[in-house]
């Protein structure tokens, strides 16, 4: 029974499930650093997924799908930024509005463009390529876990590093962090905090767009209504759990992925599905509690 649950496909599954969360999480943590809580990620992912399919289908090229998804991300990022930064609207409301907007728009366009409702799949949608590393072929464990994944799974890991370096090792990253923590300090040294906030919200749009394109072209090869299915919110939880740090957020996303995958497998050994689905959520709360307790202890001892 143990072997049925804990095997290599569990880890494979973990990696796949975590990737959309990682990609969206990287975007969201940038806005978080810039002082904006973005709960519109859910909608941004959905738009990315849709326009990914549009691009891939009409240009018969998955790369164009990603380009379109990124463009949609840029546009929605600008809209989000305009309302939140320029008009000073509540980021919560704008985030929710973007989610509703994305839901309606994709359903509407699905019908106007493809003439279908609900779902669109077609051999005409060109999926993103899988990457095969020949050198892994002979290494049993690593081959199963790490080889032959869709391209953005690998790119997401690179993005984690780039984001980390960007945030903590470049001046621009410092500016973003300063823009969130104390925008006036940044303004007074001649850097526009507003621009940094715009930048972060656009990059968030891009990352979420890619997350969506990965979902509809890499993970799957189709679009269905509401296919983001709450991933934007889980990504948000991963960001908060990871204390806005790209590496820790990556870890948190993997943790979600892992427990999600574990949940699927535990059904096989007789646990009611409702409880297996609860696992990632319960684990998160418990993990937060444990971390908080540890921190409290350290503080007391100091």
């Amino acid at each position: 029974m143990f072997k049925e649950v804990f095997n290599l496909t569990l880890l494979q599954n973990t990696i796949r499930t975590a990737t959309p969360l990682i990609l969206a999480g990287l975007g969201g943590l940038l806005t978080m650093h810039a002082g904006i809580l973005n709960i519109g990620m859910e909608g941004m992912i959905l738009l990315g997924a849709f326009f990914g399919v549009v691009g891939s289908y009409f240009f018969a090229n998955s790369f164009m799908g990603v380009v379109l998804a990124v463009l949609s991300g840029i546009i929605v990022g600008i809209i989000f930024g305009f309302f939140v930064i320029e008009l000073g609207s509540d980021e919560f409301i704008i985030g929710i509005a973007i989610n509703i907007f994305a839901g309606g728009l994709t359903i509407f366009l699905l019908r106007s463009i493809f003439g279908v409702k609900g779902a669109f799949s077609s051999p005409g949608i060109i999926p993103l390529p899988d990457i095969h590393f020949p050198f892994l072929d002979k290494i049993p464990f690593l081959d199963t876990i790490f080889n032959n994944h869709s391209v953005f799974i690998y790119i997401s890991w690179i993005f984690v590093m780039i984001t980390y370096i960007f945030l903590y090792k470049t001046p621009y990253g410092m500016w973003i962090r300063a823009a969130g923590e104390y925008p006036k300090a940044l303004e007074t040294v001649g850097v526009s905090a507003r621009k940094m906030k715009y930048f972060s919200s656009i990059v968030c749009g891009i990352f979420c767009g890619i997350a969506g394109a990965h979902l509809s072209l890499g993970y799957l090869t189709l679009f269905t209504e509401n296919m983001s299915a709450g991933r934007g919110f889980i990504a948000l939880a991963a960001i908060i759990f990871g204390a806005y740090n790209p590496v820790k957020t990556f870890g948190a996303a993997l943790m979600f992925g892992f427990f999600d995958a574990l949940g699927i497998r535990l059904q096989g050994v007789g646990m009611p599905s409702q409880f297996t689905q609860m696992i990632p959520y319960i684990v998160t709360v418990i993990a937060l509690f444990v971390v908080a307790k540890k921190k409290g202890k350290l503080k007391k001892e100091a």
Binding site: R177, A185, E187
Partner: protein, 517 residues
Amino acid sequence: MVQNLIELKDVTKVFPGVIANDRINLSIKEGEIHAIVGENGAGKSTLMKILYGLHQPTRGEIYFRGKEINITNPTVAIKNGIGMVHQHFMLVPSFTIAENIVLGSEPKKNKIFMDFKKAVKITKDLVKTYGLEVDPLLKVEEVSVGIQQRIEILKILYKGADILILDEPTAVLTPQETEELFAVIENLVKELNKTVIIITHKLQEVLSLSHRVSVMRQGKLIGTMNTKDATEQKLAEMMVGRQVLFDQLDKKDQIGDVLLKVKDLKAKNNRGLMALNGINFSIRAGEILGIAGVEGNGQSELMEVLSGLRELEDGEVFVKDTNIVGKSPKEIRKLGISHIPEDRLFNGLSKEATITENMMMGIQDQEPYAQKGIHINKKEIRNMVDQAIQEFDVRTPSQDVLIQNLSGGNMQKVVIAREFSFNTPIYIISQPTRGVDIGAIEFIHKQIIKKRNEGCAILLISAELDEIFRLSDRIMTIYEGEITGEFKNGMITKQEIGLYMTGKQKKRGDLHEKNKA
């Protein structure tokens, strides 16, 4: 000191409903220290923000080295060698000192990456050049305000500033830190030919430091003069527009029973280190006990313990005969301690609330302001607040104005008005006049003495030695969480007390023994 470096011609700044600067004509000479004084809200900060490009003048021209210049944003100012240290620090708390100093003009590796090593080196070089000691690797949130002030100055020097605008740099400094800062400023001007514009409310500082001084009042520039020709009295009159009397405070001597008694008090600070190591004192009715000390020696913790905001490790605190240890802030207030906190914006007020709402704190569940302790009686409260606004001279169009739209001095008056309206027998007062103009200082001092004369026991903590000496009946010095000396006011000079404040001498006079008995 020959050429006019900067000339303002008819500079006017209008905010909705307020003319913050009204046709200001002002010239700054190269290599001078130019002081600007004026009451709270006179328009000093606004004028300086215009020079630094943070505000655009509604009309008027600015000439820089004889040429008209349009300072559209701070970058333009920085390019022209203008740097500003703001009244409220512009530092990112979670960044290191080095990072803060280079922020906006970072040294780079390979054109993309931030060169942290170089930033540290730059900081170390700056420290060497200007003699302002800081540790580049510490985070700003870990250092004192004095250090933060230095970081701000280093920051603008790094950006190549020749003209340094300092907006109330000494408001939060200890006397020692102020002295150090002035030495640095003088050095900058003399040795490095920098020009300094400094705003301050402390007229002695003006007299001892500056070459020329300009006075502002209600948005207008009243006049500029050579400091040689100025006196404290004269400046004060120009600022306020009438004669200011630095009255002798009228103290009645009728010391009564012990109201507050502290025994072997021990407490930790936020970092878990011992901040108070066995404090003993007592205060009688009609007495002001002043505590002198360099900031960070346990004063804040003492205040917090006495008002119930901090747990103590050991010891006892008696209000008359009641031990208040373990009691909540609310219970302690009920037992008769009111508290004016050191940082009004941190916990003394809510910026987003109106004056009325701020004045309600503490009485919101008490008759007659709240019927049955629940239903708020607006009328009662409004009357009370109106009265307090009048009595304490809070300058505001209405009690519905948000606190954040008041000047700092008026915010302070709101806090004092609230606490003094409680009529409790014991007052704990910390930094009552920080950032407040001289008129208001005078007023606040009179109010404190009035409370004393009414028979209250008052504990006064202040970084201003002048304030301590002016108000206290008895003075204690605190150093590293211990009382190092205790004196009757008049028995010790300001010079001597410095030794006790820095722990170089210790003495507990027989005065203390008498009180204990």
